[in-house]
Amino acid sequence: MQLTNRAKKTDKSELSLFERSYLPSLATGLGITIRHFFMKKPTIQYPEQKRYLGPVFRGHHILKRDEEGRERCTACGLCAVACPAEAISMVAQERKKGEEHLYREEKYAAVYEINMLRCIFCGLCEEACPKQAVYLRHDKFVPVFTEREDVIFGKDKLVEDPNNRYRRDAWTKEDAMKLWKND
């Protein structure tokens, strides 16, 4: 039956002796296979090789510090309210005298926990935060955990390392296209 005129007609004429030895078809088939060895592979070797995921990718949470290295979070609880999965919990504390170099606001989160089993990585906490404190990193996934105790990420895992500040790169078009090309 003729559905479109795109289908290829097959040649049904009788094979010659040379063709019947199947050597030419064997060579053609092997040629295709060998050509594929040298083609660009659609897969990548994952743990060694990583893909650029985009400037807004929602991965591991991070609690940002400000330019002077003080924690930005003021424990207002807006992220916990905005969270549809109720993954965030915190305990607020007053800042004492002499702690001004640690916390930016008068109030800070003494405990800030995210339950990574509950979190659905929607990004609503990031959107809700008035102090630009909580972000979802674009360059890091939440690691695999094998123990139930490991799933609650406290401040030790969430607060930004002052020596290794987190930046979101590739906001310009050239940067983005360059990273895409390497992909």
């Binding site: 479109t4 795109r6 995921l53 549809p84 659905i120 609503l124 983005a176 296209m177 992909d183």
Partner: protein, 404 residues
């Protein structure tokens, strides 16, 4: 050891009970076969209780609920905008379309649907159509896998991956986007998206033709699917089928045209229907053919959206995708039903609000996969067991949406 000599003699059977094995006293009964819930060809956790008579399927009873995640209860206890990530998780292959349906309903309830900037609407349609292609690729790829072709599966996943990466770059997540918000979008399109999307379309066009050659016009595929699991149009309508299942049976019914929501009326596209070119109208082949043709139409829509985004509704510094996002989403007291054409059919949401709280009193989701699945006993009855597998795949169910 002495080997036991056994010789079958029919008359032995009749010595003790002379009449039992006479031909007129023999009985046969139907066998019940359980298919699933872990069977790979049931596309998720669907259990089918199949009543068989030899190789013939006498009846099919689908058992649901293995993936029930209380979507409706969640939606009734969360504010409207916080439910969007959960709407994604209903039909996880076409999440953008589900979001679009949900968000449109709330915007209409609030009465802000006319204020949404045109650029936002075009972006919504663009990403929804990209997602539709990705969803149809999975549908066709896994279907080909079900009936024994491995190559289309791998090729389509390779091509789908390009769409997924584009959406990941745009929205920040691979499948569960949370991108379309009430009154706007999470982010504007990233800089350079237009070029990237254009090159993706150029890549996809020959691949779609290749897909047609590889699957749709393949003789083995035609022999396997034509005249199998025929769904006549009256049955499809009675069971509430929508989407490619209904269009495969030959009715030109597409909510994008019928309701004309969002900017679809401004866009020029056709609705492919099943014509029974390979066998009868409404067979498995027709349904899959409609899906492939829809991919071509989606590409047309995407091209027109891109043109609009490049020319009329350009990216500007002042453009804020969240400009009309309402601070508080509290619709007046009403009952409201909204619907949109998702990848698998009509996805509808019914809301009942009391006007006093931020959460709806009642939400009901009309899932297209659920209604499409209900027709399965009708089309599988009387066929072979092997054709049952072909029938399940051709109606393209996502269990996350069936069970919600």
């Amino acid at each position: 050891m002495k080997s036991v000599q056994y010789k079958y003699r029919p008359e032995y059977l009749t010595i003790s009970e002379p009449n039992k094995y006479k031909a007129e006293n023999l009985q046969s009964e139907e066998m019940i076969l359980n298919l699933g819930p872990q069977h790979p060809s049931t596309h998720g956790v669907l259990r089918l209780e199949v009543v068989t008579d030899g190789e013939i399927v006498v009846d099919v009873i689908p058992h649901l609920g293995y993936l029930h995640r209380c979507f409706e209860k969640h939606a009734q206890s969360l504010p409207f905008n916080q439910t969007i990530p959960y709407v994604d998780r209903m039909d996880y292959l076409g999440a953008m379309n589900s979001e679009h349906a949900w968000v449109m309903g709330i915007e209409k309830m609030l009465g802000i649907d006319k204020e949404i900037p045109k650029r936002v609407e075009y972006i919504r349609v663009l990403v929804a159509e990209l997602n539709r292609i990705a969803s149809h690729f999975i549908a066709i790829g896994t279907y080909a896998l079900d009936i024994g072709a491995y190559t289309p599966f791998l090729w389509l996943f390779r091509d789908r991956e390009h769409i997924m990466r584009l959406l990941e770059w745009t929205t920040g997540a691979r499948m569960l986007y949370n991108y379309i918000w009430v009154g706007g979008l999470f982010y504007d399109l990233p800089v350079g998206f237009e070029e990237r999307c254009q090159s993706l379309i150029e890549y996809l066009k020959p691949k779609l033709v290749e897909l047609q050659q590889l699957v749709i016009e393949n003789h083995i595929f035609i022999n396997r699917t034509a005249n199998v699991a025929v769904l006549p149009l009256p049955v499809a309508i009675n069971y509430g089928c929508t989407g490619p299942v209904l269009r495969g049976s030959g009715l030109r019914w597409d909510l994008r045209k019928v309701d004309g929501y969002s900017v679809y009326p401004e866009i020029d596209f056709d609705i492919p229907i099943g014509k029974g070119e390979a066998g009868k109208v409404g067979d498995c082949w027709d349904r899959n053919n409609v899906r492939v043709l829809e991919c071509f139409e989606s590409i047309r829509i995407i091209e027109q959206c891109l043109e609009k985004l490049n020319k009329e509704h350009k990216r500007t510094k002042e453009f804020d995708p969240q400009a009309v996002v309402p601070k508080k989403i509290r619709p007046p007291k009403m009952d409201f039903y909204t619907r949109a054409e998702s990848t698998k059919g009509e996805l509808g949401f019914f809301f009942r609000t009391d006007g006093r709280s931020d959460v709806p009193v009642r939400v009901k989701a009309r899932a297209c996969s659920f209604n499409n699945l209900s027709v399965l006993p009708e089309i599988a009855r009387g066929g072979m067991i092997a054709d049952l597998i072909a029938a399940i795949g051709s109606i393209d169910i996502v269990m996350g949406e069936v069970d919600r």
